[in-house]
Amino acid sequence: MATNISTSPKEDVPKEKFHLDILNFSQTSQIQFGLRLQDYKKYRQYCSKRIQRLRSQLRKQYGKKNYVNKIVLNGGETEKQINDVRYLQISLLKTERAWSYAMDLKAQFEKDNDSRIGFHMNRRFGKASRNSTQLYELCKLVADQYTIIEAHAYSSWMASSLSLTKQDFKKALEEINISKTIYEKLSEQGDHSQKELYQKRIEETEPIIRFCLYNLKNEKNTSNKVSQNTLTIIEQSLEELKNQENKKKSSTSSTTTTTATTTIEWKSKSIKVDEKLDEKLKIFNEFKKENENKLPKNINASIDTTSNISPIFNIYDKLVYNLINCETIVKNDLSTLVRVNLKNKSVKSEIEEQSTRILLAYIMYHKMKYLYERNSILITMMQRVLDGEKVDESAIKKKVKKVTWNDLVRLSTHQVKVYTIMSESRDTDSNKEIARDQDAQLILLKSIRLYYIAVCLAKSLKFSETMAVLDRVLTNIQNVRKTNTKNQQILNDTNELESNIKKQRSQIHANSFIQQLSENQDLKNQMSSLSIGGITTASGKSNDLISGLDSFDTSFLTEKKLVQLPPQLQPVQAKPIFFDLAFNSVTFPSLDQRKKGSSTGTPSKGLFGFWGRG
């Protein structure tokens, strides 16, 4: 695409030099507008419309007020007039238009074998060559060195095509060699993203060169020796001269480009890295060199997890952190490229997008690799904690306060995702064994995840689902063995998993039996609780632990209630019955004597006798 578009006032001489990716521009236009289908007419119409649009933008249309004569190849005046890169685009598009018209006429000429069309074709090719020459001359004046070289190659190409139609094979050979040489130099030293474009042009020059040489050999046999010898000498001298020119020009272009560019080879391609990403990758590589020795070499079940795990996790976390910084840069670039491609595609931007995706794959591979290793260590440690073995607990407590099987399920799920991304982003290898190992490892990871899910389901008393999941795990284990992998670690892990499943099966059978008994057992518990309650209340103590001294139960500890506070009100016994024995001893004195005394007195008898008489 065109860069450095600037509109300076006409009076000032522009100091900046324009840059135009000529080959990218032409190839992009050709691909997008008809030439995939060999529709040269449509392409010609497109070029005409675009030239008209550019002229209207530059206000160089024909008319009374804005009428301007054609640009004259005069150094001073021309340099003043050209103040925008779009003037160069006009020349390029004129060349492309003439060329496409010539190719269209060529197709008709092949069909109809009409000489008038042939003449017209020759004129179109000539016009294309002239316009390309004009472009080359203009670039010498106002464009940078890279554009000049590329324009030279482009004009040589057009000149060679013209010479071929004229059957001037010597000149055609000369021009095509110039073009080939320049493109070879540019593919080596020029813009990295356009390397493929240059290589395609080089490939296209080969048949033309062979055709010209073939024709020239025939002429050698027929023509004079001297003239042939002189022609060959002239050709060689011309080649040498132009090669020297190309070398000088290419050397100057290499000085302008950035020095010491780093490249990454990934997926059988070498990709240039820009400055921002290069800094981050350097940080990552330096940290990696310093600390890679400290990381465990083989992550197996036999790894020592009792000590020194926290610093290992710190190293992994920093490596991943650095890679995440790289990842953000690449993803930002990728999103901008995708956005650009949606609006306005070009061959260069598509190639850049692909290379950026490859860079992202490189970074994602390494990121996922370290995450995978870290998670493997963590899963091993957690499993050992659940099995009751000693582990470096400080490392785990940073992650999880208390280890449960649900944590293992979550980690193993994450592990499957990490491994799939890692295998997708892996550097491409044609080795079949590695592919087998990857498939086997992926199935094994899924099996391990399902095993942990089965254990969690067993804990939550869903035994039917547990047995179904374990059956699925066993089928996955068979699939792992069918891949015929030779990796010993995968086979060991598979055997270990199978033995664990056998253990779990018998446990599940027993636990499900216990669950079926639970209804009957609840009745038994009720009976026993009644009897225990009776005993405890008989003792007269209502405190929680004291009331449960004869039962092996610690449910009260959750509330920290060994003794009930405040205590309950207490009842009282009634008093036992106590007779008042002493009161029985209280007796009246005898009054007999006093009665005898009364018998001596006769008046009393008389009184009583008197009442008796009355």
Partner: protein, 672 residues
């Protein structure tokens, strides 16, 4: 005149004798007063008057009659008894001690006075000395009183022996049956107590009906039995039934000591049953407190013994705690400590501990754990009760969850207590929290080994089996599978068909010996599992397959992949659009003739037309195919063309010379 007086005295004594025989004591007192008005120094009349007043329970007036020391000397026993009846126990004792020689009735009265003063030891010594004398060993009332004294003194063994000697008597009198029920209650034998109380009730109804009492009088007599039945049911946990019993007693409004006890007990039952209501409505607490305070007034307090008063005061403290009257509660605790703390150490240390527990509960509410700790440590914790020591452990747990100190307290408990299953379970749980699994396992194993050594009753056998199972489960939890399998193996040896130990044994052995677990697995019946389960759903969503809400979370987690798919999809339609572009049809002019073929050489000069046609067409074909790359067919065609060129060299030369000329012509035109 003297004749008239002598006649009247004789007549009055006759009347007096008749009234005494007929138990008409009020009339008898009038006659005595008449006699004494005539002759103030008549000792017989004076004695009759005093005794009549005693029969009417009018002891204060009886005491007022004793104005002269001579009168007291002549009736020392009766005077002492009157003092005893008016609760002047010390004066009664001093009066009795003045006697040089004591009769049996004086000893009986002395014993009763000591019983009221709650000096049970002296009462027991007097009664035991009286047992040797004739007539007392056969007296049911005497035996009943001795039984009561033994109960109050806490000598249950002697009481049991006494009751065993007199088994036949229990079925005859309800009083003795009641006292035997009280003994059973003291021994915590609630079943025997309940049967005894029901028996006493039955005897009471039967005997009193024979004696001609009315139903109301029978009910009044049964209040003690009803209250005691309520107490027994309250202890057994049947709170609602006990509350009914108490309500029935209170409705009768009999003013005896049983009614007072029923008041206290009904409050305690309602505080438990209606604790939710009471916590929301503090008025209930104030009502309860007022009713308890009324029990402790001086008028009522004579009917209650010191134990009962203690408990009522204790309940008052608890009610004050519930009402959050902290200062009043603390003052009451201080007075109670000063009142009861210095007496009989064995009995009252537990009461002081109970008061300390109330005080500690107040401090815990205010979260002053250190003060609570100091208060408990003032008492000797080694000799303290289980309750106070466990409370100390609880304080350590509440204060920053200090497990180590709580474990120290539990370890220092007596050996009889520390080997109870509940204590061991607590220790194991606390060791587990502190992370010391070895001590937890050792404490379990120690307890199991002690049960191994002992001879086992049925109850202990059950506890032993439960302990083995608990130990096995604990070891399974902490991954000690071999030891756990040993535990379950012992259970299976005791009971081969234990339905819980067998699966647990299978689980334990499966960890280290799967083949052995599979052998035992054959004993279990086959269990049918559900076959229709969507495993793919489980594999896709993991543990959250049952929850629909988590589906959204999964979709959110998968959102970056969808964005990438959208980007890939967005590129595809542009490609398809390119493919879908169609060619527009050519529009031919209307004038054109379809089959007309013009002469192609009509524009050329004549010297160029016919002769150069074929040769030029061949060359042009070669030229046309060059820059676009040569296919294999075109290459072969070009080879044939070159061969034809070789044969016709002369023609080519002439044609090439001719072709140069028109270029010059064009150049000239362009120059112009």
């Amino acid at each position: 005149m003297s004749k008239d007086t002598t006649v009247s005295l004789e007549q009055l004594f006759k009347e007096l004798d008749e009234y005494i025989i007929n138990s008409q004591f009020k009339k008898a007192i009038r006659v005595c007063n008449k006699i004494l008005s005539v002759n103030g120094n008549d000792s017989e009349a004076f004695q009759c008057k005093v005794i009549c007043l005693m029969q009417l329970s009018n002891f204060t007036e009886a005491i007022e009659c004793f104005k002269k020391p001579e009168q007291i000397q002549s009736m020392q026993f009766e005077y002492s008894y009157c003092l005893y009846s008016t609760a002047k126990y010390q004066e009664a004792l001093t009066q009795l001690e003045k006697q040089s020689s004591k009769e049996t009735k004086s000893l009986e009265l002395e014993a009763q006075i000591y019983y009221k003063l709650e000096n049970y030891q002296k009462t027991i010594s007097i009664y035991e000395s009286l047992l040797s004398k004739p007539g007392y060993s056969d007296s049911i009332e005497f035996i009943t009183n001795l039984c009561a004294v033994y109960l109050d003194a806490g000598k249950f063994n002697e009481c049991q022996e006494l009751l065993n000697k007199n088994k036949s008597q229990q079925t005859k009198t309800h009083e003795l049956a009641f006292n035997s029920a009280c003994l059973a209650i003291s021994k915590n034998d609630t079943k025997t107590a309940e049967t005894q109380l029901k028996l006493a009730k039955k005897i009471c109804t039967d005997s009193l009906k024979k004696d001609g009492f009315s139903e109301e009088e029978i009910k009044e007599e049964q209040t003690s039995i009803d209250v005691q039945l309520g107490y027994v049911q309250q202890i057994c946990g049947n709170l609602e039934k006990s509350l009914e019993q108490y309500q029935n007693v209170l409705e009768q409004q009999v003013g005896d000591s049983a009614t007072l006890v029923a008041t206290n007990n009904s409050i305690s039952v309602r505080s438990i049953l209606q604790s939710d209501q009471w916590s929301t409505q503090p008025k209930e607490y104030t009502h309860a407190m007022d009713s308890l305070k009324s029990l402790l007034t001086e008028a009522e307090s004579t009917r209650l013994n010191s134990k009962q008063k203690k408990v009522i005061n204790y309940n008052l403290c608890l009610l004050l705690v519930q009402l959050k009257k902290v200062s009043q509660c603390e003052e009451l605790i201080k007075t109670l400590k000063s009142k009861y703390g210095q007496q009989q150490q064995q009995v009252d240390t537990s009461f002081v501990e109970d008061l300390d527990i109330i005080q500690v509960s107040l401090l815990i509410k205010e979260k002053k754990f250190k003060d609570a700790e100091k208060l408990l440590l003032k008492n000797n914790t080694t000799t303290g009760s289980i309750k106070s020591q466990l409370l100390l452990a609880q304080i350590y747990l509440l204060d920053n969850n200090n497990v180590a100190k709580a474990l120290n307290v539990l370890e220092k408990l007596d050996s009889s207590v520390s080997l109870r299953p509940g204590i061991v379970a607590t220790k194991v749980a606390l060791y587990e929290k502190s992370g010391d699994l070895e001590k937890a396992v050792n404490s379990l194993d120690d307890l199991i080994s002690i049960f191994d050594k002992q001879k086992k009753s049925e109850k202990d056998e059950e506890i032993y089996v439960n302990l083995l199972k608990a130990s096995g489960n604990f070891k399974l939890k902490h991954h000690k599978y071999r030891e756990a399998s040993d535990m379950f193996d012992r259970v299976l040896k005791i009971n081969p068909n234990d339905l819980i130990a067998l699966p647990s044994y299978i689980v334990a052995t499966s960890h280290f010996d799967p083949s052995l677990s599979q052998k035992y697995e054959g004993k279990l019946p086959n269990i049918k599992f559900e076959s229709k389960i969507d495993i793919d759903l489980i594999e896709k969503y993991g543990l959250t397959f049952e929850k629909k809400l988590n589906l959204n979370e999964d979709s959110n987690s998968s959102s970056p992949t969808t964005t990438t798919t959208t980007t890939t999809k967005s590129t595809k339609p542009t490609a398809t659009e390119v493919v879908k572009i169609k060619k527009s049809k050519k529009k031919l002019p209307k004038v054109m003739k379809p089959n007309y073929v013009p002469d192609p050489g009509r524009w050329l000069p004549k010297w160029q037309r016919a002769n150069a046609k074929a040769a030029r067409s061949k060359k042009n074909k070669d030229i046309i195919k060059g820059p676009q790359g040569i296919a294999s067919a075109s290459q072969t065609a070009s080879l044939f063309v070159q061969e034809s060129k070789n044969t016709n060299t002369n023609n080519n030369n002439t044609q090439s010379s001719k072709s140069e000329k028109p270029r010059n012509i064009h150049k000239k035109k362009s120059k112009k």
